[in-house]
Symmetry: C2
Subunit: 366 residues, 2 copies
């Protein structure tokens, strides 16, 4: 088993660490670029490396439907398939089943649903989610869980926690691949009793890492942030902690302050495709006419290729002209912005000044 | 005037040369990547340089409508606007007026038409086409011409030649920018008498280069190829010759054999976006299911980033999943294929074996 978490130092609840995987090291806290269908939309692996991307997330649900996990296995695994040499984490497919698939029926045996692509009937069991991820060959795999929306009632959350624990046991029993780490997922919404039950059961299974699922699924941002520190307190200190699907830069900074190590979110790429740029001074809308003759880069001190080589005026033109290069260049900048944010976060923790950094980095700070 | 054509050697009618421009040298015969709206669709300038692209073509019609030639001038010109350091040729806008604009009315004074973007009424005179291209700041500008479809009758072609000559005189008189070369365009369809009249008039105006327009506009490929050598014979040997809008690799090889030096065509990028790859063995359709598990590159001996780093199976997946990276990687390969073709053409002429090269490179050859 090549997977190992190396805690480096703490600063308040914030943690600096290093995750060793089969495909190299992830310096934490880290942001994972979302590569849903085996590609981070619009970017080449070289471009991702060039901006310091450490780890890519692949979506088991999408990759299973197309091209199929067995096809990817025959082609040498997901790293070789997408030509990404650094670490890859795959989710279990659970979240997409709940958000994308139709006619979902779930019981203790399996989740049964219809593909959003062709309507075909599919069944996902915890064991099958493991087999798929072993076929994909990711460095970090996730247990199949049940993730109700935040608006579900307590009984539904209690049932989801019971089933998530049951499925975590079966996932762990089914998992074989020694070059892949399997993380457990803690559910329980914003109910700290349920989170506590779920975490205790999962910790007793001794996973090499733990995720907090069921956040960013409809609860308020305040509710999520209030629940984070109590939740991380339920998890062992010597294992990495992953907050799934979060989030905005300010959410990430706050979550690091609650002891989270790993993040993923579609925002940098999705906003990039929609002409919205992340900058240290806030969001810029590149379609806005104010950029039409602006020869300045998005951010004067950003070292990404987009900012080094192109003006706001050019980006504005590309989006108005519906040219592919607009989404490409802006996705590249936004991911670079997230990567730089995490670099700043890590340096602040290294230097024992995370609280001050967080205050200056958050909206209204500085 | 920094523009200069340096003839290097001939091999039959095929010519090796070197065009010196304000932004560097173009080794000829050369293919120009089409960058209609100030971007070669889907590719960064770095990617274009990396595959050996020598020169990019910009479309005056599109750039005038959006973002506007004065905006580009304010931003430092087209090179700086799109961050392309190497030579740029702009067309006059004529061809797009005939193919894209609505309600075209043309007389000796001007072409009047409606924008395909917003229906606004616009007027293009030879003088205005020059002023626009001087604002853009391309290295090579083109005279406004009249380009009827091949199906037009002889009277229409005769009238187009008369007006093209008149407008060439006015274009030359209007042109001021010393760092920009202005090429004349020979019209006349496949009527060699008309071509002869047009060429003689333009040659007497002593342009630094000449284009053959009015090909690839509806005539058969055989008709075009039969007309090429008679047309190039009408042009001075010490000036570059540009065959506008051509073409397929086999057309280019044959046209080089008729003494053409410059080419442009949307095929490599348009076919790339449509999942069709150019290879030395012919066209590959990447959506074809035969590629689903094929771990081989598009071409085993191609040195482009797509072929060095990605499999046919991955490209197939990207197109089926409607991912931007498919069009990106395939446009990159197709342009690299065209660039490599031109490199091979130049080497063959350098080594005095162009006829044998052309025979082996054409369909049915080898």
């Amino acid at each position: 088993m090549s997977f190992r978490f190396e805690p480096l130092r703490t600063d308040g609840l914030a943690r600096r660490g290093r995750i060793h995987t089969t495909h190299g090291v992830i310096e934490t806290p880290a942001f994972m670029a979302v590569g849903t269908q085996g590609t981070v939309k619009g970017l080449t692996p070289e471009q991702l490396e060039c901006i310091g991307t450490q780890v890519v997330l692949g979506n088991t649900y999408h990759l299973t439907l197309r091209p199929g996990d067995e096809t990817i296995a025959q082609l040498g695994g997901i790293h070789r398939f997408m030509n990404w040499r650094r670490p890859i984490l795959t989710d279990s497919g659970g979240y997409q089943i709940y958000s994308l698939a139709a006619n979902l029926k779930i019981d203790d045996h399996a989740a049964v649903f219809r593909s959003h692509l062709d309507g075909s009937l599919l069944e996902l069991t915890p064991e099958k989610a493991i087999r798929i991820q072993e076929n994909l060959g990711s460095d970090i795999a996730m247990c199949l869980d049940e993730c109700p929306p935040a608006t579900a009632d307590v009984a539904a959350h209690r049932e989801a926690v019971r089933r998530t624990i049951l499925w975590a046991q079966r996932s762990k029993a089914a998992h074989r691949r020694p070059d892949q780490a399997l993380f457990g997922i803690v559910q329980g919404s914003t109910d700290l009793d349920l989170r506590g039950q779920c975490a205790a059961a999962l910790v007793s299974l001794d996973f090499p890492g733990y995720a907090l699922g069921g956040f960013s699924v409809g609860e308020s941002c305040q509710q999520m942030l209030a629940a984070l520190s109590p939740c991380t307190a339920l998890l062992p200190e010597n294992k990495p902690r992953y907050l799934m699907g979060v989030g905005r830069p300010e959410d990430i900074v706050r979550a690091v302050g609650s002891g989270i190590d790993l993040f993923d979110c579609v925002l940098p790429t999705r906003n990039g495709r929609n002409a919205n740029a992340f900058t240290a001074q806030g969001t810029l809308r590149l379609r806005n006419a104010s950029h039409k003759r602006d020869s300045a880069p998005l951010e004067s001190d950003c070292q990404c290729p987009t900012c080094r080589l192109h003006s706001r005026a050019y980006l504005h033109h590309l989006f108005l002209a519906d040219e592919m290069l607009g989404p490409i260049l802006l996705s590249l900048h936004n991911l670079a912005h997230y990567n730089q944010l995490m670099l700043n976060v890590r340096q602040a923790i290294d230097e024992g000044r995370f609280a001050a950094f967080a205050e200056s980095a958050l909206p209204g700070g500085k």
